[in-house]
Amino acid sequence: MDTQIFSILLEDGIASGAIYALLALTMVLVFATTRILFVSQGEFVTFSGLSFASFQLGIAPQIVWLLAVLALVVTALEVVSALRLGQGKRVPWLVAIHLALPLAVVGACLWLAPLKPPVLVQAALSVALVTALGPAVYRLAFEPVANASVRTLFVIAIALHFILQGFGLLFFGAEGYRVDPLIDLDVSLGATVLKGQAMLVLATLAVLTAALYVFFEYTLLGKALRATAINRIGARIVGIKTPLAGRIAFTMSAFIGAIAGILAVGSTTLYYDSGFLIGLKAVLGAICGAMLSYPLAIAGAIGVGILETFSAFWVSAYTEAVVFSALIPVLLWLSLYAMPSEEGQEL
């Protein structure tokens, strides 16, 4: 292997690792605030990537109907529970946030899709569509059982994965899609060529990481989320609404997942079931950070990407086996330091 091949492989590994890293961030975010190991995170990636691809064909993705139905159900549940609590005054607000907002996104998608708007508008529509799905999914699948054990929540997340993947097949079909890269600009650095799309992925990762840092360190909402992550009961005692924290975490994770999808579909073919493996590799990265540390999760996810590319070069038939076996030493290492927590005993 000469330096040129080494650098190409490294670049390719970092580019796919950066996508995993985006998802690993959301895995840590969701796990820390809600204790859910959200394996169906990958579905947000495929939904947004495939929606983006269908906007490029001038067709509104059928997934808008899923959003519309979920919005209706969520609104009905919210309104009923508000009325039961005698909080009739909140109804207009609830309808605005849970129904009007998602339906506005649905309307915009249906209206703009046949007009073939500029690529960035298409990307924004896809991201909005998937972001709106995030809190609705949390509200319906997890919020009613928010205090269940980690294990129960994990099983629900797996069930959700199958449901969402089924919807993916229904709405997008079995065939794959890809679109032209957002940036078709290659920069030559000596013998190495840097792909524009790969640079874009890395830049996005950097910007989102910085934004998350600012959010958690300097905003009240961010601090509230951190407080929920550290101690749910304590957070509730000081007046933080933990269900709200869950919804915010899911909105953010759907948003980041959607952006990852837009980036991924520009450099590879996405299928309705691509999300699972992408999500699983992101989980590997997140585990490197013990599901707690953002920087370690990013480093771990990029490591997974690099390991994947190099093992594809050396033993292409066993790529997945190599990547997932790498989990074993990481788990052994973590088990040396793991403190039995209250959660652990409950399990």
């Binding site: 091949i5 794959g176 450099s267 299928y271 691509s274 493996l277 594809a312 070069f313 292409s316």
Partner: protein, 377 residues
Amino acid sequence: MEMHKLLITATAIALSTLAARADESTLTVGATVTATGPAASLGISEKNAIELMPAKIGDTPVKYVILDDGGDPGRAVRNARQLVEEYKADVILGSTTIPNSIAIGDIANQTKTPQIALAPIPASGFVFSLPQSADLMVEGLVEHMKENKVKTAAYLGFADSLGDHNYAAFLKFAKPAGIDVVTNERFGRNDTSVTAQVLRVMQAKPDAVFISASGTPAALPQIELKQRGYKGQSYFLHGVINQPFLRVGGKALEGTIATAGPFSVAKELKDSNPIKAHALAMIEPYEAKHGAGSANSFAAYAWDGYELIKAALPKALAKAKPGTEAFRVALKDAIENSKDVVGAGAVYTMTATNHNGLDGRARVLVRIKDNGFHPIQ
């Protein structure tokens, strides 16, 4: 409980009486296809083709019974039993998928009913199988490579049993043709990057690359090869003959070569090719009913089942009447002796040891040009 059982038995007797043959001279073709479930897109095409089959072959009226097995081998077996015992089928068409077709094979042999499988399975006894085997197609690719003076070829295929099978087939034909197979790289259907495998292929500097994958995933390696500046010829198998593949691959696919069944490029075949007329005769009514571009190779397999039955029927009728075991055995013998029976997808010459009956006429090579498949002639 007893009452319940009695009721079921009574109903079953009543049903079987109802379903009994209307006319002793009617030929009954029983079909079980996968019209629902994961393989539905294949099975529905087959069902559509069966629905187009004429109600009379010569002077013999034909009754068609189509059942759906939903992709479940157990249901396929029950369907096959029902077809033979209740509907007194003289021949079974189906099923769509490999496991289902193999499962039905046992019933076919037990009840001495000829089965025409629409999936590529090992066929002997009362079982016939119509689709092209991967080996037949790989052989065609290697022939083309040899004609074009390819000395070294890289293999880049799926990391699954299909990838293994096609690699073995490629080695089998490449060695006698003097072609050196220089890589055995694998990738997964859902891989987001094949850069590493493609680098490995390019390091070996092959004259040609054989990308053994089906559907849209096959496009990714070719796109990567083009991006990395590979100038040699790329080859695909017939699993890529569909529009989504062209959509995903776009410009990167221009000039590549794939194997195909003659049916899928029937309109562009030379008029001298006997398959052309047969294929068009089936495509026209099919597409008039189901829309332009709807006819596919799966519909053609089912249709060729009819062509084989039609060719074999006179010989079988000379020996016995439909609905009898003697007739079914005679029909099997007649199909087994099919010689140069032209269908919509191939020309069949069966023998006692060859129940697939295909030769080089069942494949064409196509070149992808202007985002379409065009036969190389």
